[in-house]
């Protein structure tokens, strides 16, 4: 092995061959039966449990944990999937520390919540590895719905519609289904090929077709979909990215973090992935943390996240930040990039410390530079390619109630729709709820 973490430049194979499997294996290993039993026994079966309220998909958490505790994890899985068909992925990727587990009364009591996420994974893995799909379709209604985007929102919407007897055609711009489950989520949260396995398992319901590499606005039009289908659901996520808007941004080796992560997710052999020695990640959210941590896991020697506001304002949770720091990522706050320096490719990024005032954030004259042979921009995704004629708000599709857009017959949910956190579980909830509303509208008219 010739390369090491301190080899200069952007190179592959910085680590010994066996390190990659370890680094990109399960960050949180699955519970075994005994661990699940002990964890489940801690649940108090609270009345009107706060964890249920905290879950965007309202999974009946005490009930599924009791079903695990009484030796029927399959029934637990049914309880979960009934509310959240992507309960398997959510068990892996939900920031439970800010959702259900934060609300757990044992968090308040002892600072140690019931391990809801891991228990959910225990139950859902159990049923999914048995290959059991727990739902059947209602009698066909003859109605057809187009879904744009095969991410969590689109898949949840499609599954619910199919279950209710409608035929669903999904169009997705990318070559594979799954949306950010396939292209965005950190590898160590969703190991192996779970995202694709989950899509296949979900499709067992029947009545759903997926056309990949078919983009709305390029290969199909909204008008066309409206003509061919009884309803349309838009779950196209946020395909665009924000720019830094500083001089030198176009230098070599300055990339969008989401592209880097997508490449990483699509490369089975991580030792073949080139990574810089000095990596700078700009941003303060989950994408920044995932890009930084995975850079370290690929063997980058120095990885720094730079965020323009204070640490408490980072949208990455404390848990995520802690995870980054444990992985050896340095977090610098209250600093914003002012220039990318280099000769062709980046060599340094120049930052100004910021000050928070009544007029908002301002740059101070206090500056510093960080050595960088690779820069990842993670300062937010944006909606791109929204069809003409849809009312937007704050750069996202305006929706009311269960995902109704300003155009009749068109619903939207997930990251592309306004409101709600940009999380997998929120996308699932919105897709599911829109499906119920579409169903109501189709059956009312029919």
């Amino acid at each position: 092995m010739s390369n090491t973490p301190h080899t200069a430049g952007i190179v592959a194979g910085r680590l010994p061959a066996d390190a990659y499997a370890r680094n990109f294996g399960d960050a949180e290993p699955p519970l075994d039966r005994h661990e699940a039993q002990v964890a489940a026994d801690r649940c108090y079966f609270c009345h009107d449990a706060p964890c249920i309220t905290a879950c965007p998909t309202d999974i009946d958490i005490p009930l599924f944990i009791r079903q695990i505790a009484t030796g029927t994890p399959e029934a637990a899985a049914r309880t979960i999937f009934g509310q959240n068909i992507l309960g398997g992925m959510c068990a892996r990727v939900c920031p439970t520390e800010t959702l259900c587990e934060q609300a757990c009364v044992r968090e308040a009591a002892e600072g140690k919540p019931v391990e809801i996420g891991r228990l959910q994974r225990f139950a859902t893995d159990m049923l999914m590895t048995q290959g059991v799909h727990p739902f059947t379709r209602a009698a066909p209604t003859g109605r057809r719905v187009a879904v744009v985007g095969a991410g969590p929102a689109g898949l949840a919407c499609a599954h619910r519609l199919a279950m209710l007897g409608h035929d669903v055609a999904i169009y997705d711009a990318r070559p594979k289904a799954g949306g950010l489950n396939e292209y965005g989520i950190a590898q160590y949260k969703s190991v192996g090929d779970f995202a694709q396995a989950e899509v296949e398992w979900l499709l067992q319901i029947g009545g759903i077709s997926i056309s990949n590499s078919m983009a709305l606005g390029r290969d199909v039009t909204l008008a066309g979909l409206q003509a061919d289908y009884d309803a349309v659901f838009l779950g196209m996520g946020l395909a665009g990215v924000n720019a830094l808007r500083v001089p030198g941004e176009d230098r070599g080796n300055v990339r969008d973090a989401v592209d880097f992560i997508a490449d990483l997710r699509q490369t089975p052999d991580k030792s073949a992935l080139p990574i810089g020695r000095d990596v700078v990640v700009i941003g303060g959210g989950m994408t920044a943390v995932d890009a930084a941590v995975q850079s370290r896991l690929l063997g980058a020697q120095n990885v720094t996240i730079v965020y323009r506001r204070g640490q408490d304002r980072m949208s990455a949770s404390d848990y995520e930040q802690h995870h980054a720091q444990t992985a050896g990522v340095r977090i610098v706050t209250n600093a914003a990039p002012v220039a990318v320096h280099g000769n062709g490719a980046v060599t340094e990024v120049e930052f100004a410390y910021t000050a928070e005032g009544p007029g908002g954030l301002s740059l101070t004259d206090d500056r510093f530079r960080l050595r960088a042979d690779q820069v990842f921009k993670a300062i937010g995704q944006t909606l791109s390619g929204a069809p003409e004629g849809l009312a937007l708000t704050g750069g996202k599709i305006l929706v009311t109630g269960p995902g109704r857009t300003s155009l009749s017959g068109i619903w939207a949910g997930g990251d592309c729709a306004a409101g709600g956190d940009d999380l997998t579980v929120t996308a699932v909830a919105e897709g599911r709820d829109a499906a119920m509303d579409i169903h109501a509208s189709l059956t009312r008219r029919g």
């Binding site: 009930l63 009791r66 505790a69 029927t72």
Partner: protein, 432 residues
């Protein structure tokens, strides 16, 4: 999903899970919530005669025993039968049954031990639409002192007499609820059967004192410095209840008598166990009082998953374990097992070692690096290590096939042989 629809003495309900006569079934608001949550039926909180209502204490009425993590294992109570006016109860029963026709509605009754009182109460409940009556011969406190409840339930002649009155004056199916506060459950059960009972239900609560207040030197629950015995229920009484249910189920003279199993049913498993030992359905009180009505959803999903996995119907489960409930003398004394510790699962706590070394057969070896292994030449297969191990299935009992050597006895394992034919049994020899 397996069909859980149940028919008990002709009373149908969507599942075999009923709420027992107790606070959860005390009034309309509770029962409606219970039905909304999915309970198959209720036995309404026991009604007394027309007249001034019963009074309850106005201090604590419950005592409790807890396990680790303050999990409620046993509850005891000094509550009496309903303390609300009879007519209010009857009106509520009528309304709820009208709105929930598919759920079982059984009325529990306890009136003085004379024919007029029983005739009167049966007439009053006639037009409520209720599906059946349950005679509360079980309550061990408060009412017994007035010649009702377990005071009747402990005298088989009274049980038979009252049951006969009820069958005479009412067409409704009659379930007789038995008290466990007897030396044998069989005489009261047989008396109910002779009196014409359509079914028995058991157990009611067990006479108990849960704890003593060590500052005031009074049993708990303490009412103004004094305590009285209460009735014990919850997971702690399940073993007592299972045995009594099974005793009745296997008795040749009562074959076919439907049994409603009560006592500590907390999960689907408990329910399945009662049903396997002969219960036609189960009734639940403490588990609902501990966790709320929603637990029935786990009971429903769990029981139907179990039946699916076994490819069995509810009817086929019923009584399935009864033929295997035998007397000790009919157990195969040659059946030999040895404890086996799965080293992968072992967490090295050493509890098996302490238990076996200190109190049993010195059959577990402990190495300096805390590896625990069973000495097959000492192990008598008592199962204590299995029961004290914190990890389920870490220690298991492995059967020695017939003919293989038992290192403890130095003799091969013999084919089936019970005490009835054992050489050490004097009566076995006498019979030859």
């Amino acid at each position: 999903m397996a069909d859980l629809a149940s028919s008990f003495v002709g009373i149908t309900s969507p599942n075999p899970f009923w709420l027992a006569s107790a606070p959860p079934t005390d009034k309309e608001v509770n029962v409606r919530r219970a039905f909304e949550a999915g309970w198959g039926g209720v036995v309404w909180k026991t009604l007394g005669s027309e007249g001034p209502p019963i009074v309850n204490v106005n201090g604590p009425r419950y005592g409790a025993v807890w396990g680790a993590d303050r999990r409620l294992l046993g509850l005891n109570n000094i509550e009496l039968i309903t303390d609300r006016p009879l007519q209010v109860n009857l009106d509520e029963i009528r309304r709820v049954k009208r709105d929930w026709p598919d759920r079982a509605m059984v009325i529990s009754l306890m009136v003085p031990c004379d024919e007029e009182s029983w005739k009167d109460i049966l007439m009053r409940i006639e037009d409520t639409g209720a599906d059946g009556v349950e005679l509360n011969f079980g309550c061990p406190h408060g009412m017994a002192e007035r010649g009702m409840g377990s005071a009747v339930g402990q005298v088989p002649e009274y049980i038979e007499m009252v049951t006969a009155w009820v069958k005479h004056y009412s067409k409704l199916p009659c379930i007789v609820k038995l008290t466990p506060n007897v030396t044998s459950i069989l005489p009261p059960a047989l008396a109910a059967y002779r009196g014409g009972a359509d079914a028995v239900s058991l157990i009611n609560t067990v006479k108990s004192i849960t704890n003593v207040d060590l500052d005031h030197f009074s049993p708990f629950p303490m009412i103004d410095g004094k305590g009285s015995h209460g009735g014990y229920c919850g997971p702690a009484v399940k073993p007592i209840a299972l045995n009594m249910v099974a005793e009745i189920a296997r008795h040749p003279d009562m074959r076919g008598l439907p049994i409603s199993g009560i006592g500590g049913v907390t999960t689907w498993r408990d329910a399945a166990e009662f049903i396997a030992l002969g219960a036609g359905n189960v009734q639940v009180c403490t588990a609902a009082m501990t966790y709320g009505f929603k637990i029935v959803q786990e009971m429903i999903s769990g029981l139907s998953q179990y039946l699916d996995e076994k490819a069995m119907t509810l009817d086929e489960l019923r009584g399935r374990a009864v033929p295997n409930f035998v007397e000790w003398q009919d157990l195969n004394l040659n059946y030999t097992t040895k404890a086996h510790i799965n080293q992968d699962d072992c967490i090295k706590c050493g509890r098996c070692y302490a238990a076996c070394e200190d109190t049993s057969h010195q059959a577990i070896a402990m190495s300096p690096d805390r590896v625990f292994t069973v000495k097959d030449d000492e192990c008598v297969a008592c199962n204590l290590c299995v029961n004290v191990c914190p990890v389920e299935n870490c220690i298991t009992m492995v059967e020695l096939p017939v003919g293989s050597m038992d290192p403890r006895t130095g003799r091969p394992v013999a084919p089936v042989g019970t005490w009835t034919t054992h050489p050490n049994n004097p009566s076995a020899q006498a019979a030859e």
